[in-house]
Amino acid sequence: MKYVDEYRDPAAAERLLVAIRGLVTRPWTLMEVCGGQTHAILKYGIDELLPAGVTLLHGPGCPVCVTPLEKIDRAIALASRPDVIFCSFGDMLRVPGTDCDLLSVKASGGDVRIVYSPLDALRIATENPGKQVVFFAVGFETTAPGNAMAVYQARRAGVGNFSVLVSHVLVPPALEAVLDSPHCRVQGFLAAGHVCAVMGYAEYAPIAARYRVPIVVTGFEPLDILQGVYLCLKQLEEGRAEVENQYSRVVSEHGNRPAQALVSEVFRVVDRAWRGIGDIARSGLGLTEAFAQFDAERRFDLSQVGPRPEPAECIAGLVLQGVKKPPECEAFAGRCTPEHPLGATMVSPEGACAAYYRHRRLTARQGKTS
């Protein structure tokens, strides 16, 4: 298939692997930021093909995994209301809340619908004027423009029965949180290509300089990832710590400016709790005052759904920060499976635990994962 096969070519992959093997003189630990990259790495077995000393840690860039429990519980509370049609991206439906997940709400009679675009949720609102339609606006900078557009159009068209439950998060503050952790092992980052397609990569330069860490904006196909690894390792071997752009066919330095303008009109930067990691200052997006009327948390009384303590049953927080790998968890593939996830990282295909479970259970059990 055009634009796909070129980036999965085995011969080109082998050439990159030879180049990587010729480059590496000592062990290095890199982190791929985005869950989509984690998924591709495990699906194609890329980590197994790298030299033994090169370790890939899986970063916090899975929106399903980092959406805080309180937001999931609020989504479940909203979806359970008889006057609400609750719309969400598909893979949020199986994320466990405190008592149940959105799929269970649907099975118990809640009107929960999977949409492919937030604009579909807006259309459902105009088609169902007697109902309140709530869209679960989650994700990183990648999904922010689409979600902003839905709210923007709702205001312009005066769609009064549409609102959004917002749990947007931002990548750069999360990278700094990972780097600030005393357990941090990360020596270089593969930054999330699609986040940078929207935001550009200018905001990464201060992080690379301050923490002396190379950051390579990387795509999602096997050759993208191998080339990103190569560029990152080359910087490390040469003692450089710069921002480089492997994904130049999609990403420009300053990103998609109209999209950024829309995002900053509809959203403002707020403090945000990350599931499994904790509170990170100025790491999320919330609606601006001008669009506050579309904030589901203002429209509905959700005061009874407050922050819940999360029992330390699993090590999702350590996995999301790259401190541990999924098979190092006692519960992995035993008490914790995709059918019965203990933590959100076992839910989405982008979650590191689910990706290991699906693609790497055999070697994981034999203890050969790193």
């Binding site: 298939m1 194609y44 093909l49 149940c100 799929l103 999702a316 996830p341 933590g343």
Partner: protein
Amino acid sequence: MSRPDDVSPSCPVPLSQYGHVLLAHGGGGRLMHDLIERVFLSAFRNPALDTGHDAAVVDAGGARIAFTTDSYVVHPLFFPGGSIGTLAVNGTVNDLAMAGARPVALSAGFIIEEGLSVEVLERVVASMRDAAREAGVPIVTGDTKVVDRGKGDGVFVNTAGVGLVEHGLRIAPASVRPGDAVILSGDVGRHGMAIMAVRENLAFESAIESDCAPVTAPVLDLVASGAEVHCLRDLTRGGLASALNEIAGGARAGITVEERLVPVREDVRGACEILGFDPMYVANEGRFVAFVPEADAARAVDVLRRHAVSASACVIGRVAAGPAGLVAVRTALGAARVLDMLSGEQLPRIC
């Protein structure tokens, strides 16, 4: 708020067991298998059921009879390449074929929602008549029920079928042996993506049509060819991956598949790429896998390729001595990974 100065691992309360049936329990993956095992098999347990095959083979006065049933709840009722009616006939005919049986007769039961247009019902029935004719099997008995508006989705169809087993083979997962070749009868993922495209109103450059078709003729030829057929399985919900996992589990053997050998049509690949689906897990309605000894593989492929429905049949992998129950796939880049059974439904990804 401040940044965490140390890691604070946290996690929600475990969801032990669902108290309600979820849609995912019907998705053909592990949840469905758990439900069948826990609720149905434990209640009905008997030797014919325990073989875990698409069709049970029972002894009836000296004759070996294959017997199967299936219900169809597809929405929309009509889609490119077929309808609920063609599915209902071909699905049951194919389940019989997976026992190597010649179909003898079908039943048809209809659960109709109040308000369904008679014209629509007639079109469904006409498509069943045509499909039954093509498969060479009469529909000899039936049943009709009507439920209140809102209690059904237009029409649900159930079919049951009996077939005659005219060979002496024991076609079952337990017959699979290490070294067997795994033969796939054609490209995968078409039915699931055809339904998905219509249901979700996704417009692709050309309509993806379902692969819905009867596979009796190539299977009976395969059995007649003298190839020692160890196991047959049609690839429906859960796709190729789930079928291989079921057989690996039943055979207590491992299966290794070469990803690059599994045919997927370009438009199906494209649709899967867009939605974040893996074609290995997408439903089919006219595809099957056959397990035969390595020595019979070339002959088997040759026989299957003589039929239009299996014209692109090919060997995609091998059965290995172990580890039991595990399906491994060699990726395009040469690395190996586990091909797990579908867990719940495939859900479209966020980004």
